[in-house]
C-alpha cells in the first residue's frame, strides 16, 4: 500500500515554507508549509477553497505569494521566476479543465510540448526532426490517440482531451508534474487507466496530484496531504488521514 511513500530518496525536490497568499483580505494560503521529496507521489485533498489550486498557482509562477519561500531542487527560488521559466526548469502542470489547443491537431499539440528550444527566433526556423517525430508517434500510441493524430484537438471527447494533456506532459520528460483533478469527468474505466498511468509515470519522476475523488486517491496509495483554509491539516497515509479526527470533522465527515 505504501510502496510509493516508502521509495523517496530523501532529496527534497519541492519546498514551501510559510507561504501566504491573500486575495482582497481572504487568505487563500495561510502560512502553508509543504515538503515533497524527489521521486515521491503525493496526493493533496481538501474541501473547496482549501487552497489546492492556489498552491499549484504559486508553484508554477501564476501567483506570487505575499510572503514565504518556494524552492525547487534546493536552490531555485520559484517566487522570482515567471511561468515560462518555471516550466523550462522541469515543472509541468495539468489543469483542472482540460486545456488543449483546440485549433491545432493532436499531433501539433504534442509538437508544441516537445522538449525543444522555446525561443521565439528558434521556433520561427524550427524543423521537426525524424527523432522528434518518432517521439510524438510513440506518445500518441501510449495515450491511445494514434488514430486521431491529424484531428483538431477541439473535436476530441472530454476523456481524450485529458489524455492528450497528460501526453503533452509526458513528451517533455519533466521532473515534477502537478496534476489538478486528472480524473474529473472521466468514466470509471478511464479513471482506472489513469491511476495505472500515474503509478507507471512516477517511476521516473515526481508527481503531485490534487484530487476530490477519494476512491481514486485510495487507488494511488500514496502519502496524502489534507489542506484546510490554506494550511496543512494532516499528512500521512490514506488510513491515517481518514482516521484523523480533525479531518473527519472538516472534510470527510460532512
Amino acid at each position: 500500500m505504501n510502496a510509493a511513500a516508502a521509495r523517496p530518496t530523501g532529496d527534497v525536490l519541492l519546498y514551501l515554507n510559510g507561504v501566504t497568499v491573500s486575495f482582497d483580505g481572504f487568505k487563500a494560503l495561510n502560512d502553508l508549509s509543504l515538503v515533497v521529496e524527489e521521486g515521491e507521489l503525493r496526493t493533496i485533498i481538501g474541501p473547496n477553497g482549501a487552497g489546492k489550486t492556489t498552491m499549484m498557482d504559486v508553484v508554477t509562477g501564476k501567483t506570487r505569494p505575499d510572503s514565504g519561500e518556494v524552492f525547487f531542487r534546493g536552490n531555485e527560488d520559484l517566487t522570482r521566476l515567471d511561468e515560462a521559466d518555471i516550466a523550462n526548469l522541469g515543472i509541468g502542470r495539468k489543469f483542472q479543465r482540460p486545456t488543449v489547443f483546440e485549433n491545432l491537431t493532436v499531433f501539433e499539440n504534442l509538437e508544441l510540448a516537445l522538449a525543444d528550444s522555446r525561443g521565439t527566433w528558434r521556433t520561427l526556423f524550427a524543423r521537426l526532426t525524424s527523432d522528434q517525430r518518432e517521439r510524438i508517434e510513440a506518445t500518441l500510441s501510449r495515450i491511445g490517440l494514434a488514430g486521431d493524430s491529424g484531428k483538431p484537438a477541439g473535436l476530441l471527447s472530454h476523456g481524450q482531451k485529458q489524455w492528450l494533456e497528460i501526453g503533452m506532459l509526458l513528451i517533455h520528460d519533466r521532473q515534477l508534474l502537478l496534476l489538478d483533478e486528472p480524473v474529473a469527468g472521466m468514466t470509471d474505466r478511464e479513471t482506472e487507466e489513469t491511476a495505472a498511468l500515474i503509478l507507471d509515470l512516477v517511476r521516473d519522476r515526481t508527481i503531485i496530484v490534487v484530487e476530490h475523488d477519494m476512491a481514486f486517491v485510495r487507488s494511488l496509495g500514496a502519502k496524502v496531504t489534507v489542506l484546510h483554509e490554506g494550511s496543512v491539516l494532516a499528512e500521512g497515509s490514506v488510513e491515517h488521514v481518514q482516521n484523523h479526527p480533525r479531518v473527519i470533522e472538516v472534510y470527510l465527515g460532512r
Partner: protein, 386 residues
C-alpha cells in the same frame, strides 16, 4: 523547399501554392501596366492613367490588412491602432518627398520646407536631418513604426494587457498621435500635413511612368509581405501563436514566452504597416494627421473580418473589395457609405464569421482542408463543431 514531415498536412510551399502566387503576381504586376501603356486609350480593356494610383492605393491597404491579420487572425491581438503605424511610415516617406522639393517651393527656400518658412523656423529641426537621402528615409519607414510598436508592445504585453483592453489602448495610442500631429509646433506641417511633392528618386511624381513604377513597387511589396506572413504563420512559431490566441496561459506553462512571441509579430506587423504607408503617400500625394484618425484603424479591422481573418489572402481581398465599394459608394451615394460599412461588419460577424475566404472554403465542392495551421479558423467555428 523540401516536404515537411508533418502528417495530414499539405506542404505549404507546394507547386500549387507557387503557381497561384506567381499567377496573381503576373496579373497584378504585369497585366495592369500592359493594359495601361500598350492598349489604345479608347479600348474597353485599357486601364486609364487615373486608375493606376487608385489601384496602387488599394494594394497599399491590402498590405496594411495583411499586417493586421498577422497579429489579429493568428495571435489574437486585435490592434485598433494599425493606422498609426501606417501613418508613421507615411510621414517618413512624406518627409523625404518634402526634402526633394528643394527651391521649387513657394518660398524657394532650399533649406526649409514651405510650412516651416511660414511658421518662421530658422533651421531644420534635428528629426528632419537625413531625410534628404532616400536610403535613410527608407530605413526610417521601417524603424520608426517598428521601434514604436516594440516599446508600446513591450509595455502592454509585459503587463499582460489583452483582449478588449489592448484594443482600447491601441485606439488611445492612435488618437493621441492624431492630436499630436495636428499641432503646428510638432514640426510635421500640422493640419495640412506634407504635400506638394515634386520628385521621388529623381522622377516627377506626376508622370504616369512614375505612377506605374510606384504601382509595380506596391505589387512587389505586397508579394513580399505575403510571403513573409506566410513563412511566419506556417512555422512552429505560427502554431505557438495560434495556441496562445486560444489558450495563452497554457502556452506559458509549456515554457514559451508568449510576451516575446507577441512582441515579435506585433513589431513585424507594424513594420509592414509602415511600408504600406510609405508606398501609399507618393501615390496619393499627401500625408496629414487624418491618417491617424481612430476610425481609420477600425476600418482596417473591418476589411480583415470581411475577407476572413486568419487566412492572410482574405485580408488582402477584403481590403481591396471594401475599398472598391467605398470608392464607388462615396461617389454615387455618399450618404449611405457609413451605414453600408457598419452593416457589412455586423453581417460578417453574425452570418459569415470566417469572412469571404472562409465561406469559399466551406463550399461543399471544396476538398476538405487539413485541420489547422493555414486554415486557422476563428474560435467561433471551433465551438460550433464541438
Amino acid at each position: 523547399m523540401e516536404t515537411l514531415s508533418y502528417p495530414h498536412q499539405r506542404n505549404p510551399w507546394n507547386a500549387r501554392f507557387w503557381t497561384g502566387f506567381v499567377l496573381s503576381g503576373l496579373v497584378l504586376g504585369l497585366l495592369v501596366p500592359l493594359l495601361n501603356r500598350w492598349v489604345a486609350p479608347d479600348s474597353p480593356f485599357a486601364v486609364p492613367d487615373y486608375l493606376v494610383p487608385l489601384l496602387g492605393k488599394y494594394l497599399c491597404y491590402a498590405i496594411l490588412a495583411l499586417s493586421l491579420d498577422l497579429v489579429w487572425g493568428y495571435a489574437g491581438i486585435l490592434s485598433l491602432g494599425h493606422g498609426a503605424f501606417f501613418a508613421l511610415g507615411g510621414y517618413c516617406m512624406g518627409m523625404y518627398l518634402m526634402r526633394q522639393i528643394g527651391t521649387r517651393g513657394v518660398y524657394g527656400n532650399a533649406g526649409l520646407p514651405d510650412f516651416m518658412v511660414f511658421l518662421q523656423y530658422k533651421e531644420l529641426p534635428w528629426f528632419w536631418w537625413g531625410f534628404d537621402h532616400f536610403a535613410y528615409a527608407a530605413a526610417m519607414v521601417m524603424l520608426v513604426p517598428g521601434v514604436f510598436a516594440f516599446v508600446f508592445g513591450w509595455l502592454a504585453f509585459r503587463s499582460r494587457v489583452t483582449g478588449v483592453y489592448l484594443s482600447i489602448i491601441t485606439q488611445a495610442m492612435t488618437y493621441a498621435l492624431w492630436l499630436a500631429f495636428f499641432r503646428n509646433d510638432m514640426g510635421f506641417g500640422g493640419n495640412n500635413g506634407l504635400t506638394d511633392y515634386k520628385d521621388i528618386l529623381g522622377w516627377d511624381v506626376h508622370l504616369s511612368e512614375t505612377r506605374l513604377g510606384l504601382y509595380v513597387a506596391t505589387v512587389v511589396g505586397l508579394g513580399a509581405a505575403y510571403l513573409l506572413c506566410r513563412f511566419i504563420t506556417v512555422s512552429k512559431l505560427g502554431r505557438v501563436l495560434l495556441a496562445l490566441r486560444d489558450a495563452e496561459s497554457r502556452v506559458r506553462f509549456l515554457g514559451y514566452s508568449t510576451t516575446r512571441a507577441k512582441l515579435f509579430v506585433f513589431t513585424i506587423s507594424a513594420v509592414l504597416a509602415g511600408i504600406a504607408g510609405a508606398l501609399y503617400v507618393p501615390q496619393v500625394g499627401i500625408i496629414n494627421p487624418s491618417e491617424f484618425s481612430p476610425g481609420n484603424s477600425i476600418e482596417v479591422a473591418i476589411w480583415v473580418s470581411v475577407g476572413g481573418r486568419g487566412t492572410l489572402i482574405g485580408a488582402a481581398i477584403g481590403a481591396v473589395l471594401v475599398n472598391l465599394a467605398k470608392t464607388w459608394l462615396t461617389g454615387a451615394v455618399p450618404e449611405i457609405w457609413l451605414f453600408f460599412l457598419g452593416g457589412l461588419f455586423v453581417l460578417t460577424t453574425l452570418v459569415f464569421p470566417r469572412g469571404i475566404v472562409g465561406m469559399f472554403r466551406q463550399l461543399p465542392w471544396q476538398r476538405p482542408r487539413r485541420a489547422s495551421s493555414l486554415a486557422a479558423e476563428p474560435p467561433v467555428a471551433a465551438e460550433k463543431q464541438t
